[in-house]
């Protein structure tokens, strides 16, 4: 259970997050939504304990995250950044073993921890990437790289998994399989997402940020309302039910599409026009 209490954060005097309070449910996937610059990535960094809030607090199972030493935070929280590239061409196994660093002894950690390889094997198996372990990072596809990154995060054996736009640059099948995998882990996860439909399909809970403020939170059906989306994103849309999944599907309307309350009127007008022409 993660509790955000009045989290406020500014960079160079510009407020990025303003009094954000929310509960993040355990063992569920929470989606962090909002337009560019809404403060999603910053909030993830704060939850990870990489930066400290100017005011307010973030508690993980009762402990204030900012008060945790880096190493202890890393034993409990894993963060996946947006499409990271290593400076040297590591193998998949080496990347996954990076996740063991916070669990190793401080002084002799370079000689490896006893169960490192076992944990790495399991982590790779959990994301179905065992067959990739001898591959070099740069030979992997984008989707495979993200899966390996998740395996690295799992090797940290965290109780909280944070993902910053994990589906960026992935094709649609890789997006779906990646998010399905995250759901299947059963961990408390928080992920920043751009795609509202992916959030509606794969998240149990949604936090919607706009200009650093939390404007809505709740289940996808509660948060993803046409009026809310219009306010935050400034776009027109309709919400329908997914024909098989039952979750909300957001159908965006390009500018120029008739307005919802005008639509009937417009159809009448169109029909009348056709009648006149015939």
């Amino acid at each position: 259970m993660v509790i955000l209490g009045g989290v406020t954060f500014a960079i160079d005097g510009v407020t990025v997050l303003d009094d954000v309070s929310a509960d993040i449910p355990p063992r569920a996937v929470t989606g962090l939504l909002g337009p560019n610059g809404a403060g999603k990535s910053t909030l993830l960094r704060l939850i990870a304990g990489l930066v400290k809030p100017d005011a307010g607090s973030i508690r993980l199972e009762g402990t204030i995250v900012a008060s945790l030493p880096r190493r202890e935070a890393a034993q409990r929280i894993a963060l996946l950044e947006q499409s990271a590239t290593p400076s040297v061409d590591l193998s998949v196994r080496e990347v996954v073993l990076l996740g063991r660093i916070p669990h190793r002894s401080r002084v002799l950690g370079s000689f490896g921890g006893a169960d490192d390889h076992l944990v790495a094997d399991r982590a790779l198996a959990m994301v179905g990437a065992r067959e990739l372990e001898e591959r070099q990072w740069h030979t992997l596809s984008g989707g495979q790289q993200q899966r390996v990154q998740i395996a690295r995060a799992l090797a940290q054996q965290p109780s909280l998994l944070l993902l910053d736009e994990p589906t960026n640059h992935l094709d649609v099948s890789a997006q779906l399989s990646l998010l399905g995998q995250v759901r299947g882990l059963g961990l408390t996860s928080v992920m920043a997402l751009h795609d509202l439909n992916l959030a509606a399909a794969y998240c149990d809970h949604i936090l919607l940020l706009h200009r650093g403020r939390l404007v809505a939170s709740g289940s996808p059906a509660e948060v993803l309302q046409p009026s809310v989306i219009a306010d935050v994103y400034g776009v027109d849309c309709d919400i329908i039910e997914h024909p098989r999944g039952g979750h909300p599907v957001i159908v965006f309307s390009p500018s120029g599409t008739p307005h919802r309350h005008q639509a009937d009127h417009h159809a009448d007008h169109h029909a009348a026009h056709q009648r006149a022409e015939s």
Binding site: R45, A48, L50, R70, R71, E72, A73, A74, Q75, I77, A78, L79, E81, A84, T85, P86, S87, V88, D89, L90, S91, R93, E94, L97, L98, G99, I101, P102, R104, V107, L108, G109, S110, F111, G112, H117, V119, D121, R122, A123, L124, A125, M126, G128, A129, R130, E131, E133, E134, L154, Q156, Q157, G186
Partner: protein, 355 residues
């Protein structure tokens, strides 16, 4: 953590990853053996002919082992001139190669090297101030301060808007290296007594000609102390691969670790430059070559890069003192002839648009 046994996990039998380990151990053993063999040969090679059995007998005799007696002249050539020089070359080569590997990792810059980023020239300036001006400061300490000052200057100049690109780092390193080299030459000219050109060349291009047992003591101590610290930090170096945020989210105190390691590199480079002058490109070439054998993981890379760095510089120095026999080349000329083509290849090969 719950284990999900997937189809792929079940299909994997045995333990893959064993074979690269064996191959690596093979390379390490081969390198150590080659270093010992080439080192012994290098002692035998030179203007005065010394046979390999005499080399071994002389060394064994000094170590208190039973050995046939060796003519005193041969014995002093081996024990007083060539052996200290070759041991110094080995320690300096190992130290510079380790320095390069660490710098490339913590700055995420494939072109990082103590010479290219100005540390070596800064160390030369510090060392020259002690030697020539007689500033009361231990030689390695002064070289360390020079290297550290150059490093801080290079990184501060290269830092624009909180980030340092590899290209900017090399450019500002070039500026700092030129400044420190000019300072070194100036100090030597100012206090000119006799052959100042030779002296300038030795400091700026590096030379192991004056190596004595005290050079061995300085360089080997620095290598053992700083080198073992670096080895203990091997996995922390791995953690830098994905950048600062990733390293921090793996539990590292990123800035503390980076500056501790860079401080260690300055100490190591400073000590090496104090005994040999600024020898270039060893720290650039070796890590790139060795990654091909060991893979990029630092636990394997660091020991092998140290041994092969030692081997590389022993060979380069032996060429330097024998190719134009009886004249000696500064060894930096040889390392540059090999290093600059590698540098060009690296620039051409790099796929990112970081420059």
């Amino acid at each position: 953590m719950a284990t999900q046994s997937t189809r792929t996990a079940a299909a994997v039998t045995g333990r893959p990853g064993r074979r690269p380990g064996v191959r690596y151990a093979g390379w390490l053993v081969l390198s150590v053996v080659s270093l010992a063999a080439v080192g012994a040969l290098a002692v035998a090679i030179g203007p005065a002919d010394v046979s390999l059995p005499d080399v071994i007998a002389s060394i064994a005799g000094h170590l208190g082992l039973p050995a046939p007696s060796v003519p005193p002249l041969i014995d002093s050539i081996v024990w007083q001139l060539r052996l200290p020089r070759i041991l110094t070359a080995a320690a300096v080569g190992a130290g510079l190669a380790l320095s390069g590997a660490v710098m490339q990792s913590v700055t995420r810059n494939p072109l990082a090297d103590p010479y290219l980023l100005g540390l070596s020239s800064g160390a030369s300036l510090g060392a020259v101030c002690v030697v020539i001006l007689g500033v009361a400061f231990a030689l390695p300490a002064a070289a360390f301060l020079g290297a550290l000052a150059a490093l801080v200057a290079t990184l501060s100049i290269a830092r624009v808007g909180g980030t340092i690109t590899p290209g900017r780092a090399v450019l500002s390193g070039l500026a700092i290296a030129q400044l420190a080299a000019a300072g070194t030459s100036f100090v030597i000219f100012w206090s000119a007594k006799g052959d100042s050109y030779r002296e300038i060349l030795n400091w700026l291009l590096g030379s192991l000609a004056g190596s004595s047992w005290s050079s061995v003591a300085i360089s080997a101590t620095a290598l053992l102390v700083v080198g073992s610290g670096i080895l203990l930090a091997a996995t922390r170096l791995d953690a830098f691969a994905f950048g600062d945020t990733a390293a921090a989210s793996l539990g590292l105190d990123v800035n503390g670790t980076r500056w501790a390691l860079l401080g260690g590199v300055a100490l190591l480079t400073g000590s090496m430059v104090a005994v040999s002058g600024a020898i270039g490109f060893v720290g650039l070439i070796l890590p790139h070559l060795v990654r091909g054998l060991s893979g990029p993981g630092h636990r394997r890379l660091l020991p092998l890069v140290a041994v092969l760095g030692a081997l590389f510089l022993v060979v380069a120095d032996t060429l330097a003192r024998t190719v134009f026999d009886p004249r000696e080349l500064p060894v930096g000329i040889i390392t540059a002839f090999i290093g600059v083509p590698v540098f060009i290849l690296l620039i051409k090969r790099k796929r990112s648009a970081a420059w």
